[in-house]
């Protein structure tokens, strides 16, 4: 499919711009042959990209009414939720879109890890991908503060507190991050700038480079490093329209999920941030839960370094796992490490989720402490009346 412009416009343009080259480039990119094995698991990258576009569009729309000051932030979100038509929907798309985006980026990473797609010559694409993941999570962290409600205020207080544990520079870094000693209007302003100016451009640049590398190197297949078969034009699947249609199917599923989440579990407005009242059981968003729980088992500084280990490992993994094999069955050690790491993340995340809460199990009440250890609680369960 080439761009069909009326001849007059085409002529006018081609006298001024390299239309031929551009057409050729677009044609090449849209018809880029993809390996036959490109399946549904390969769509999570593009889903992440789609969700990023969703974040940009809904983010711009939210910014129409959002005001980043302590006196107006919460009120403007309330306006979006209650007065602006479809405001609840657009905020829902943004908030749930963020969660799904992190999920899609994670699944995309997990697939890349187990299919060995990060191996030579795609190490740099992987490193960029890890950076994209970091950027996405930072987006989540900065965006969480912006509604300026109790949860966002206190989760950010706890979150920025961790930076203070870094030896020597920690307290300075924390002050820099918060724009003062505690979370205030200054923090809101700088998180807003990070969230709507710095991070979007950084992520755009990272994604562009990531996509460029992906296009230059082509998609990885399951063959060993150095033994990749050349893609046969006849067996290959063209990116457009074949693969795009497949992605369309997945996109429908994603949209259905997204809209269902928005309607059935609407994003709350919450109570306006109050620096004088700490709500009970403040927990970070789910993607920080495992790290948050891990930090509890160690003294501050040591915990910080322990929690950095998985992140550093992730970043340099292609330079550690350098065997030529890609198929998971032929890489038992790295696959085991991957599975164990995943399970640990899930277990820590779950314990973090359950910590500091009370559950009833088989008619017995248990209070789960900060470290996730359940304690049997006696009959003091009866709610005291006033």
């Amino acid at each position: 499919m080439s761009l069909k412009l009326p001849n007059k416009i085409q002529n006018w343009l081609s006298q001024r711009l390299p239309v031929e080259t551009a057409e050729q480039f677009i044609d090449e990119q849209t018809h880029k042959p993809m390996p036959e094995a490109t399946g549904f698991l390969h769509t999570f990258g593009s889903l992440s990209l789609f969700l990023f576009i969703n974040q940009v569009v809904t983010g711009i729309l939210l910014m129409v009414y959002y005001r980043p000051t302590t006196n107006t932030a919460f009120e403007s979100i309330r306006f979006i939720m209650t007065k602006a038509h479809f405001g609840w929907f657009i905020r829902g798309l943004h908030a749930w879109g963020a969660t799904l985006m992190i999920l899609c980026v994670l699944i995309h990473m997990i697939r890349t890890f187990f299919m060995g797609a990060f191996k030579k010559p795609r190490e740099l694409t992987w490193v960029l991908g890890v950076a994209i993941f970091g950027c996405t999570v930072t987006f989540g962290f900065t965006g969480y503060l912006l509604p300026w409600n109790q949860l966002s205020y206190w989760a950010t207080t706890v979150g920025t507190e961790i930076t203070g544990a870094i030896p020597f520079v920690g307290p300075y870094l924390r002050t820099l991050l918060r724009g003062g000693e505690s979370i205030s209007g200054e923090t809101l302003a700088r998180f807003f700038v990070l969230h709507v100016v710095v991070l979007p451009w950084a992520l755009t640049a990272l994604i562009a480079t990531h996509l460029f590398l992906m296009r230059v190197q082509g998609l990885a297949t399951m063959e060993k490093v150095g033994e990749e078969k050349h893609i046969d034009e006849h067996d290959a699947v063209p990116f457009f329209p074949h693969h795009v249609l497949k992605e369309g199917v997945i996109l429908c599923g994603l949209l259905a999920t997204l809209i269902t989440l928005i309607v059935v579990w609407p994003v709350e407005l919450g109570e306006k941030a109050n620096p004088l009242v700490t709500p009970e059981g403040i927990k970070p968003e789910w993607y920080f839960l495992s790290t948050y729980q891990l930090l509890k088992y160690f003294p501050k500084t040591i915990g910080l370094f322990v929690s950095l280990i998985p992140q550093v490992l992730l970043l340099i993994w292609p330079f550690l796992d350098r065997t030529p094999e890609r198929h998971p069955k032929k890489r038992p050690i790295s696959v085991t490490i991957g599975v164990v790491a995943l399970l640990l993340a899930i277990v820590f995340g779950f314990v973090g989720y359950m910590s500091e809460s009370t559950i009833t199990w088989r008619g017995q009440r248990y209070e789960i402490d900060v470290r996730g250890v359940p304690h049997h609680s006696e009959t003091k369960a009866a709610p005291h009346s006033n």
Partner: protein, 145 residues
């Protein structure tokens, strides 16, 4: 794209595809336009409300309005308009106008406030919060402070 015959043939499926995508696009654009279109006269942070025309008030007449979800009492005095947050500083009852005493009165515990919002009788510990009144083009506007 093997033969020109197949390309030119607009199948039922293609029509469906095009129609579906068009509907999809509309379904996206329509809410966006209604969202961006201002839903009220003033933006989200308007803390100003109109109480009516100056002529609607005779001297010593009062009116209650809701401003930022809270009741506000507006009184026309010979010295001009006065507006106070109509929530008693004692236990939070809504105060009203006592025409006989020409004072703002709380019905709950007989608290009285003068026209400067200061408590003059009864239990209220603090003055009422004063709101700014602006008269523009014969229209009385109250602004929260």
């Amino acid at each position: 794209m093997k033969t020109s015959e197949k390309i030119s043939r607009r199948t039922f499926l293609d029509w469906l595809l095009m129609g579906g995508l068009l509907a999809w696009g509309t379904a996206f654009v329509a809410p966006v336009i209604t969202y961006v279109w201002p839903s009220q006269k003033r933006g989200p942070n308007s803390q100003t409300v109109s109480v009516g025309k100056v002529d609607d008030f005779t001297e010593w007449q009062h009116k209650m309005v809701a401003l930022d979800n809270k009741p506000v009492i507006v009184v026309r005095t010979p010295q001009g308009f006065r507006a106070y947050l109509a929530i008693c500083t004692h236990l939070g009852c809504i105060v009203g106008w006592d025409a006989g005493r020409r004072q703002i009165a709380c019905p709950c515990h007989a608290g009285f406030f003068d026209l400067n919002g200061r408590p003059v009788a009864g239990p209220p510990p603090r003055p009422l919060a004063e709101q700014t009144v602006v008269v523009v083009n014969n229209e009385v506007m109250v602004k929260s402070t």
